[in-house]
C-alpha cells in the first residue's frame, strides 16, 4: 500500500465514524419513541450532553462539599462530572490493580515453571484446563470468595490476566530459538545468568501480544464483574440504568468506556512498540 492510499483510507475511516454519528443524530430526530417518559430510545447529541449528562449526577454518592441527589440535592453538572470521575476511577483502578497483581504473579510463576522441561510438563495440563474454563462464567465464584466490592473484582481480573500471562510466558520461553540458549551456555552462562541476559529479553517480543491480549481480557473481566453485583464503576452504572431502561445513560457511559479502552490500547501498543525498537519488524507485530 502506498502512502497515498493510506492517507485516503484514514480519511475514509474518519468519514465512517462521522457518518455513523450523523445517522444516529438523524435517527434521534426522526425516531422519537421513549423507553421511559423523558428518556428517549435513541438519544441524540442534544440530549446526551444536556439531560443525560445531568442525570449521571444521580450516581454521585455525595461528598467533597457536593451533596448527592439521593439526599435531596438538585442535579448539577458538577455532581455529574464528579460521578463520572469517581466511577471511572473505580473501574480503571480495579483493572490496574488486577492487571498488576495478575501480571506479576503470572510472569513470576511462568518463569519459575519454565525452569526446566520437567516443570513445564508438570503444569501443562492444569494450565490448559484453567485457560479453557470460560472466564466470564466464573464471576459468581469470585464474588462468593472475595465479595462483590473492590476485592472480588480485583481478584477476578487478576485471575483472568494471571492465567493468560502465565500461559503466555511458558509458551514464550518454550519458543525461544534454542540457538540463543546454546550460545549463552557455550559462553559459560549459569542458569540465573541465562534468565537475566537471554530469556527475559528474548521473550519480550512475544510478551507484547500477551500484554495486549490480557488488556482486552482485563477490560472484559472488569466490565463483567461490575455487571454482576458491584456497587460502583462504569459497568455498575450501565447495568443499573438498564434495569430502568435508561438507554441514553447507558449509551453515554458506554461511549466513555469505548474511549477508555481505545486509549489504553493505543497507549500500551505505542509504549511496547517503543520498548521493542531493537527487535526485527516481524517480531514487533
Amino acid at each position: 500500500m502506498t502512502a497515498l492510499t493510506r492517507h485516503r483510507d484514514r480519511w475514509i475511516s474518519l468519514g465512517v465514524f462521522l457518518v455513523l454519528a450523523l445517522i444516529w443524530q438523524v435517527l434521534s430526530v426522526v425516531y422519537t419513541a421513549e423507553a421511559q417518559p423523558g428518556e428517549p430510545m435513541v438519544a441524540g447529541w442534544q440530549v446526551l450532553f444536556t439531560h443525560t449528562l445531568l442525570s449521571l449526577s444521580d450516581y454521585w454518592p455525595g461528598g467533597w462539599g457536593v451533596p448527592a441527589v439521593s439526599e435531596g440535592a438538585p442535579r448539577s453538572y458538577l455532581a455529574a462530572v464528579l460521578s463520572i470521575v469517581v466511577h471511572s476511577a473505580d473501574t480503571i483502578g480495579r483493572l490496574a490493580a488486577g492487571m498488576a497483581l495478575g501480571g506479576f504473579a503470572g510472569l513470576l510463576l511462568g518463569l519459575a515453571m519454565s525452569w526446566s522441561r520437567w516443570t513445564r510438563r508438570l503444569v501443562d495440563l492444569p494450565i490448559q484446563f484453567l485457560r479453557t474454563l470460560p472466564l466470564l462464567a466464573m464471576v459468581p465464584l469470585f464474588q462468593l470468595w472475595f465479595g462483590t466490592d473492590y476485592m472480588g473484582e480485583v481478584m477476578f481480573v487478576a485471575y483472568g490476566i494471571g492465567v493468560i500471562v502465565f500461559a503466555g510466558t511458558v509458551n514464550a520461553v518454550r519458543n525461544i530459538p534454542p540457538i540463543y540458549l546454546d550460545n549463552a551456555r557455550a559462553l559459560g552462562a549459569s542458569q540465573t545468568m541465562l534468565y537475566r541476559s537471554v530469556i527475559l529479553p528474548a521473550i519480550f517480543p512475544a510478551m507484547r501480544s500477551v500484554i495486549l491480549l490480557s488488556l482486552g481480557a482485563g477490560w472484559g473481566a472488569v466490565l463483567g464483574a461490575e455487571y454482576l453485583g458491584a456497587q460502583s464503576g462504569l459497568g455498575y452504572i450501565i447495568v443499573y440504568a438498564q434495569q430502568f431502561a435508561f438507554l441514553d445513560r447507558m449509551f453515554l457511559v458506554a461511549l466513555l468506556f469505548i474511549l477508555y479502552t481505545s486509549v489504553s490500547y493505543w497507549g500500551i501498543s505505542r509504549l511496547s512498540a517503543r520498548m521493542l525498537a531493537w527487535a526485527p519488524p516481524a517480531q514487533r507485530q
Partner: protein, 284 residues
C-alpha cells in the same frame, strides 16, 4: 528419462503417524498426568484449611456434578425452566453453535472481501477494529433491552464477538496469501470463480479455522455471562441461581461441566482443523 536421484527421495516418513504418536505421548505422559494429580491434591489440601462454604472438596464437586447432571430438582424451585444441568447445557451449547455459525459466516465473508477490495476495507475496518478493541460485553445490556430476556440477545452478543475475530483472521489470511499462487493459477487458465474456490478458500482455511477455535473458546464465557445477566435457562442462569443460594459446590460443578464441554468442543475443533488443513505443517 532422467534417473531418480538421491534428492528425489521424499521426506515423507509418515507425518501423520508421527503426529498421532506425539499427541498420544502428550496425553499419556506420566509427568503431565502427575501434574493433574498434583493440582487436585493441592486443591484437596486447601479444603482442609478452608470451610466448605468457601472451597468444596474435589470429590464433593464431582459427585455433585454426577448427581445434578440428569436431575436437579432444586433448580426448578429457583425458577430455572430446566431442572438439570444437561438441559441447560444443551440450551447454552445450542446458542453457542448457532451464534458461532452465523458470526463466522459474517466475519469470514467480510474479512475476505476486505482483503480484496481496498475501499470495502477502508469502510469496514474502523468499525471492526473498534469492536475488536472494546469488550463486546459492553453491548449486552443494550441487547437485553432491544431483544428482551431470551435467546436472541445472548446469541446476538456472541455473533458480534465471533464476527469480529473472524473478520480479523480471514482478512489477514487473505492478505498474507502469496500472490504467486494466483498468478500461477491464472497462467494455468483458472477463471475467477475457480480462483476463489481453488486458491483463496483452501489457502486461507487453516488460519480461519485457527480463528474459529479462538472464537469458539471465548464464546462459552460470553454466552454464560449473557445468561447471567438475564435468561430463563442455560448454564449462566444456573450459575446465577446457585450464586444467589451461596452454593460454591454447585457453582464449581456447573463451571466444571461448562469447562469440560468447552474443552471437548475445542478438541473436536482441533481434530477438524488437523483433518481439513492436512496440507499445512503438521502439529503446532
Amino acid at each position: 528419462m532422467t534417473p531418480v536421484a538421491d534428492s528425489l527421495r521424499p521426506r515423507l516418513r509418515s507425518h501423520r503417524l508421527r503426529a498421532g504418536l506425539r499427541s498420544a505421548w502428550i496425553a499419556l505422559d506420566p509427568l503431565r498426568l502427575f501434574g493433574v494429580v498434583l493440582f487436585v491434591g493441592v486443591w484437596q489440601l486447601c479444603t482442609l484449611m478452608l470451610p466448605p462454604i468457601i472451597l468444596p472438596t474435589p470429590w464433593g464437586v464431582v459427585s455433585r456434578l454426577s448427581a445434578d447432571f440428569w436431575s436437579a430438582p432444586a433448580l426448578s424451585y429457583y425458577g430455572v425452566s430446566e431442572a438439570n444441568l444437561y438441559g441447560n447445557l444443551l440450551y447454552t451449547a445450542e446458542n453457542v453453535v448457532i451464534a458461532v455459525a452465523i458470526g463466522a459466516a459474517i466475519g469470514i465473508l467480510s474479512g475476505l472481501l476486505s482483503a480484496r477490495f481496498a475501499l470495502f476495507r477502508a469502510v469496514v475496518d474502523p468499525v471492526m477494529m473498534t469492536a475488536g478493541t472494546v469488550p463486546i460485553l459492553i453491548a449486552a445490556p443494550f441487547l437485553l433491552i432491544w431483544f428482551g430476556v431470551g435467546r436472541a440477545s445472548a446469541v446476538c452478543l456472541v455473533i458480534f464477538y465471533v464476527a469480529v475475530i473472524l473478520y480479523v483472521f480471514a482478512g489477514r489470511a487473505a492478505r498474507n496469501l502469496d500472490p504467486i499462487y494466483e498468478q500461477s493459477a491464472r497462467t494455468l487458465g483458472a477463471t475467477s470463480r475457480r480462483m476463489v474456490r481453488d486458491i483463496l478458500i483452501p489457502a486461507t482455511v487453516p488460519e480461519i479455522l485457527g480463528g474459529l477455535r479462538i472464537a469458539l473458546a471465548g464464546a462459552w464465557g460470553l454466552e454464560a455471562i449473557s445468561e447471567l445477566l438475564g435468561a430463563q435457562s442455560g448454564m449462566g442462569k444456573v450459575l446465577e441461581v446457585l450464586a444467589g443460594a451461596t452454593d460454591p459446590q454447585g457453582i464449581m460443578a456447573t463451571l466444571l461441566v461448562l469447562g469440560l464441554t468447552a474443552i471437548v468442543a475445542d478438541g473436536l475443533m482441533a481434530l477438524a482443523v488437523a483433518r481439513i488443513a492436512q496440507w499445512s505443517a503438521p502439529g503446532r
